[in-house]
Symmetry: C2
Subunit: 281 residues, 2 copies
DNA sequence: CGGGTGGTTGATACTTATCAATGGCTGTGG
DNA sequence: CCACAGCCATTGATAAGTATCAACCACCCG
């Protein structure tokens, strides 16, 4: 039974199951720095919604084709998002904090997870730029899930009420909503299948392929190489394995020249074989 | 790596991954007997929607309080459901067959699952009377999931188009829809957590408690006893374990006087302890 | 530097799967 | 009515897969 971050919890007093095991106990929350909206857009190369990588329900693609993207962007601004810069390993959203606000990742990677009281943790999804945590969170407050930054993340938090109203004014968005919902559902089903019925090798290979596919959709793959900021700890928590075991499996994969991971960069060396290992499609 | 029903598949020619491992190869589909609508309601004690056990999104509870239940029932009839009687272990809905029609369980237990080509199978949910397979299936055609009867099942298949229109005419139903969606999502999250991070004992205990809770909502628990038609094979496929191991764990539970299962009846003998084992709440 | 974080590796333990044999039960066809 | 075929559950012996523990090294950043 693998427990994440228990050592840290033991060291720092009472077991607080809801506190992210990643959050550094020496740095009190809230530590995210709010930025003025316009400043943020130019400050550090963050591109705002203008080139927000399109995902199926990205708000940025919600603009009717006839609308200029600028107008849409302005539109989004109206929604009183507060833009935040969140450093790696900090919690973006606490399990209880899902009341009025929903975060959208603009830049960087995040992980959405549930944690048990004793520290066991399951990552349900990695969030890439443009991702909503879950389409449900649009309509109803969600709870129990922690969202935390894998890399430094810039994200916007929208008021749910506003966003909901916004979406409901645009019928074509609603349609996308239900498609995204379907997609989400089948992702969840696949996750259960993976965790319940697949071997460690398969799970890890599938995780990699899954991420690659999503990165490709966003144009973030150069040749066969791409940024891969996940720690083995993340891979472990996403696949229901132990970091040690993940290390061994990834080691095998590298020795077999399926992939290469170094300096936070992933290169796919033998995709067909990797797919075979993953039992993909 | 546990594989469901592989022997059967080997025996009967080509591996057909989409064919339910439970379906008996000697009985060709479609084997469900369609019944005339009115006949069905009286025939074998099936109660139609009149006493369809209420679940959060049961169509029967969708009737406005002012409406008499009879009116509602009539309403439902309009929807051109075809009522079917499906014997235990037969497939209700095939992975590909999710085009226009969606099944609702009226009586009996069913299981919704995904199956891999090599026969490994993960049950995603057990369906009790009043259950929809998934709220998404209302809006978009779903695929990849198999629904099969655990006990003899009576179910209705509705046309999605009709049902969708029906729901959209009733705003209060829409509201329930989004709540049910949230619920479904969190069920899926819990499933992933269970499969990824919990021990066999915990998973099985939780499955039992989960089922008990749902049965209780439907008034199907008498004292501490209730019908429990699941085979150990079902429990195994729902928990990502092996039937053999399930047998051993259930054996322990019984020897520890936590539960008793005999003649398809489950009795909870020591609920507090069972909850403790399940790490419940 | 020095501390925290991450990754690797080997030895070992534990959980769960696999295999195999047995017996009970149920429905079916002669 | 019996015999038989399938299914189901149980049990024990053994194997495989993964976790746990511990030590070590390699970073990176302050």
């Amino acid at each position: 039974m693998h427990v994440t971050g228990l050592a840290v919890q033991k060291l720092f007093g009472k077991q607080n199951g809801n506190e992210s095991a990643f959050a550094r106990p020496d740095l009190a929350e809230p530590a995210a720095k709010p930025l003025p909206n316009d400043a943020a857009d130019k400050a550090d190369g963050m591109m705002s919604c203008l080139i927000c990588p399109a995902n199926d329900l990205t708000l940025c693609t919600g603009a009717k084709p006839s609308e200029s993207r600028i107008d849409w962007a302005a539109d989004t601004m109206e929604l009183a998002s507060s833009t935040q810069l969140i450093p790696a390993r900090r919690t973006i959203c606490h399990p209880k904090e899902w009341s009025d606000t929903i975060p959208v990742i603009c830049q960087g990677w995040a992980a959405s997870s549930i944690t048990l009281l004793d520290g066991r943790r399951q990552i349900l999804a990695f969030l890439l730029p443009g991702d909503l945590v879950s389409t449900v969170s649009l309509l109803e407050p969600m709870s129990g899930r922690t969202v935390e930054a894998v890399t430094d993340v810039t994200c916007r938090k929208f008021s749910r009420a506003d966003l909901k109203a916004f979406v409901f004014q645009r019928p074509n968005l609603l349609d996308k909503l239900s498609k995204t919902w379907l997609d989400e559902r089948s992702q969840a089903d696949q996750l259960a299948l993976d965790l319940g019925r697949r071997t460690a090798d398969e799970r890890i290979a599938r995780l990699i392929l899954n991420v690659v596919e999503r990165l490709a959709k966003r144009g973030l793959v150069k040749g066969a190489a791409m940024e891969f900021p996940l720690r083995q700890r993340h891979v472990a928590d996403a696949t229901g394995l132990t970091p040690v075991h993940v290390s061994k499996v990834l080691g095998e994969f590298q020795r077999a020249d399926l992939i290469d991971i170094s300096r936070r960069t992933l290169t796919i060396l033998n995709e067909p074989e990797l797919r075979r290992v993953a039992d993909w499609r």
